[in-house]
């Protein structure tokens, strides 16, 4: 069987920086090859350079870049254009913005038909409706006439896939096709891709999410720093990873790991390149940077068992209701958060979990019900009355960067929090706080914009703990981080909870994360709490249908998955 796509010696450089080096792989017709790696590993650039879309500044070179006998490396732009869309479909990263906001979905999809085939408008229209139905969009007639902003994220993603498969391409390149989507929607998209694969479309699936890749791919390539560090059949790579980077990547996935286990491995290699200052600390005045082995030590019962703190309610919410127009965003939500414990709030986008966070932070007032913090009136109080209590309740957000004043340096941000707004000068306390969250003194004078995502979140955590809070509201704090950085941040939060006796209200859509961090969990849907209880109880024996659906849709690494037939597993051992 000859390969549909065969790549050898592919390198991409931007100026002097090599972002992809010597990448080689084959894709057989009807098979799915997964490319896994963290941001900056070069996986997206690899995909784009296959299509000649690497960008103007990119210098692409390859020994072999053959698609079905056509040499893509030396192909003129015209040849590439006729291949794109017709023979090679591309679902881009951030497909949520890949649709033109001014045109209807129907026209958007009809475009590729118009460009690559001779057909009448009526034929095209019929085909568009067919495609929309095929990718599982209900009411295709209605949806085809709508614009992107009238569709939900999942529908938009399906529409983008519909336009990519409009001409039955033999190869579909999907770059993070489900990253921004809720887990039930994600499951639907993966089903769709699976069906396409089974119908004979070759798929190159790019993702940072091992679980997504393991679901579809017969073979996996693990990329790190622009190189393929490990490759092989999915089951072998995920079941018995050989390269330390792959091992770290798999260990960092919080899915199914109970509370109290560490996500970062004890090996010195646990300081990943993605976040160099991340897991190092600077000791004293000597200034020597050492990998903090103690902090990333193997779990022992002594280190991970949650010490007993006096059981006392830190935050209580009763009958919270918040209405936006006619929509009930939060409907009769109540809970008690005790000292030293973590309450996970899980739900899909639009379930009202962020509104709950805003109500608890008193950034918004409930229409009815109330919140008490440390036994005192909170949502019912005036802002002036709340102010003295404010330092006791911290917050970290999904997008740490936008929560910092862009004109302030890290030192100023933390100093402001330490001195309760009196000064912006960074004293020894600031350095101490930064060390506590695993950042070195060197970041003091830098602006958050120039830090990595993990470092930014650490700064946010330093700011949140500066006021010696009792509780921190965490709104999707790790959702935009790579899996290994996510693991470090979760471990850090765990350490701080143990050392400082913090309580967390932890809001996330990620079931793996919530299971890993929470003692108790609330499952929210359409503003209501549909299920609550101890985390293990809810996860092992879900009572509500919705919880069951949510748990079933969550992708997991299927390490023991049976090797599928169809693909020639050793085809890339050239």
């Amino acid at each position: 069987m000859t390969a549909l796509l065969s790549v050898a010696g592919l390198s991409v450089r931007f100026g002097d920086t090599r972002v992809v080096s010597d990448v080689a792989f084959d894709v057989q017709p009807g098979e799915c090859v997964g490319i896994v790696g963290e941001s900056g590993s070069g996986k997206s650039v690899t995909a784009r350079s296959l299509l000649g879309l690497a960008g103007r500044r990119a210098r692409v070179s390859a020994e072999t870049l053959l698609f079905d006998g056509t040499d893509l490396a030396d192909a003129p732009a015209r040849t590439l254009r006729s291949l794109r869309g017709r023979d090679i479909g591309y679902v881009s990263q951030g497909a949520l913005v890949a649709l033109d906001p001014l045109r209807t979905v129907g026209r958007e999809i009809a475009d590729s038909l118009r460009l690559h085939t001779s057909s009448t408008p009526a034929q095209r229209r019929a085909r568009v409706l067919e495609l929309l139905a095929e990718v599982g969009i209900p009411d295709p007639e209605l949806r085809a006439a709508q614009r992107a902003d009238q569709l939900s994220g999942g529908l938009r993603q399906r529409a983008v896939i519909a336009s990519a498969i409009a001409l039955r391409p033999r190869l579909l390149i999907a770059d993070e096709p489900t990253t921004a989507l809720d887990s039930t929607v994600q499951a639907g998209i993966l089903d769709l891709l699976e069906r396409l694969r089974d119908q004979g479309t070759a798929v190159v699936l790019i993702s940072h999410d091992l679980a997504v890749v393991s679901r579809l791919a017969t073979r996996v390539l693990v990329m790190h720093d622009g190189r393929i560090v490990e490759r092989g059949p999915t089951a072998d790579v995920l079941g018995g990873p050989r390269h330390p980077y792959t091992r770290r990547l798999i260990a960092a996935v919080p899915t199914d790991r109970p509370r109290g286990t560490r996500l970062t491995l004890p090996a010195p290699a646990a300081a990943p390149a993605a976040d160099p200052a991340g897991s190092r600390v600077v000791f004293g005045n000597s200034g020597t940077t050492v990998v903090d082995v103690a902090k990333t030590a193997v779990p022992t019962t002594a280190a991970t068992a949650t010490p007993e703190f006096p059981k006392k309610a830190v935050v209580t919410a009763r009958g919270l209701t918040r209405r936006f127009g006619a929509r009930l965003a939060v409907d009769d939500v109540g809970f008690v958060l005790e000292r030293g414990r973590t309450l996970g709030v899980v739900g899909e986008s639009g379930s009202g979990k962020t509104t709950v966070a805003r109500l608890v932070l008193a950034l918004d007032r409930p229409d009815s019900g109330d919140v008490q913090v440390l036994g005192r009136a909170w949502s019912a109080a005036t802002e002036r009355e709340r102010r003295p209590l404010r330092p006791r309740i911290g917050a970290i957000y999904q997008d740490a960067l936008s929560s910092f004043d862009p004109r302030q340096t890290v030192g100023q941000i933390v100093a402001d929090a330490v001195t309760r707004g009196r000064s912006l000068r960074a004293g020894p306390e600031v350095v101490e706080l930064l060390e506590r969250v695993g950042l070195s003194e060197a970041v003091l004078r830098r602006r958050p914009l120039h830090l990595s995502g993990g470092q930014q979140q650490r700064v946010a955590i330093a700011r949140a703990i500066a006021g010696r809070p009792d509780v921190i509201v965490c709104d999707e704090p790790v959702s935009s981080l790579d899996v290994s950085v996510q693991a470090q941040v979760l471990d850090l939060l765990d350490d701080l909870q143990r050392d400082l006796g913090l309580s967390y209200l932890f809001i996330t859509h990620d079931l793996g994360v919530v299971r890993h961090v929470s003692d108790d969990v609330l499952v929210m849907r359409a503003g209501r709490v549909v299920e609550r209880g101890g985390t293990e109880a809810v996860f092992s024996a879900p009572q509500h249908d919705y919880t069951r659906e949510l748990l079933a849709s969550a992708p997991r690494i299927r390490a023991s998955l049976a090797i599928r037939d169809g693909g020639d597993l050793d085809s890339d051992a050239t």
């Binding site: 936008s402 004109r407 006021g467």
Partner: protein, 278 residues
Amino acid sequence: MTALSPARTRAARRPRAVEVGAVVVIAFLALSALLPGLVAPGDPLAIAPVDAFQAPSPSHLFGTDESGRDIFTRVVHGTGASLLIGIAATAIGLGLALVFGLLAGFGPRWLDFGTTRLLEVLFAFPGLLFALLFIVVYGPGVVTSTIAVGLSTAPGYARIIRSRVIQVRTSPYIEAAVVLGRGRTLRIVRHVLPNVAGALFVLATLGVGQSIVWASSLSYLGLGAVPPAAEWGAMLSAGRTYISSFWWMTFFPGLFIVLSAAATTLLGRALQQRGRES
């Protein structure tokens, strides 16, 4: 504004040749404005009827006018007045705009509504027409024309400042400051004003050039500085009669108006770009 490719943030951009040129022009203008005697030691008002209408030559670099006054000396000595009018008018415009913008951005909703409508009405007038109206009421002169230019540029600035204030006020970092327990005053002083000021500084540099042109236009119409005062617009106006025979009388004052406006605008744009990149 925040999403950046890492390549652009890594190295500061080297200044372009035109930007260097703009800085050189501004330095020369500043020197002429502060120490005109050093650049052109003559008396700008000294008449010498014998030397009338001399073409540019080594002894009279820019030639002479109908009364034999050295145009180079007059242009250099006029720099101070022109720049002062430009800067003062911009300051008046921005000052007013800041008040309106902050009121609209921070005040209650009805105040925002009121100011915005008022600004829209003002905006409907062409700026120069508004300035003319003001001068018709308060009489011509350097001071009134400066105020007039300032007033007529204010609505444009105010709109930009208002939207910037609202953008900053509703940003996640202001919310983060609320969560940290910062009061309203501290939020305004520490976060809103500094972040608005950046935009303001760029606006000001861009505005000076425009104000110089406008003030010169008013002088040219005889509504600002009046001849024989050494002011670029007034000189332009005086040379108008002789434009077909003695081009240098209008050319050099005009050249300086263009140069100063272009230089400040270029600098403003460069600052704007730099602000976006850092």
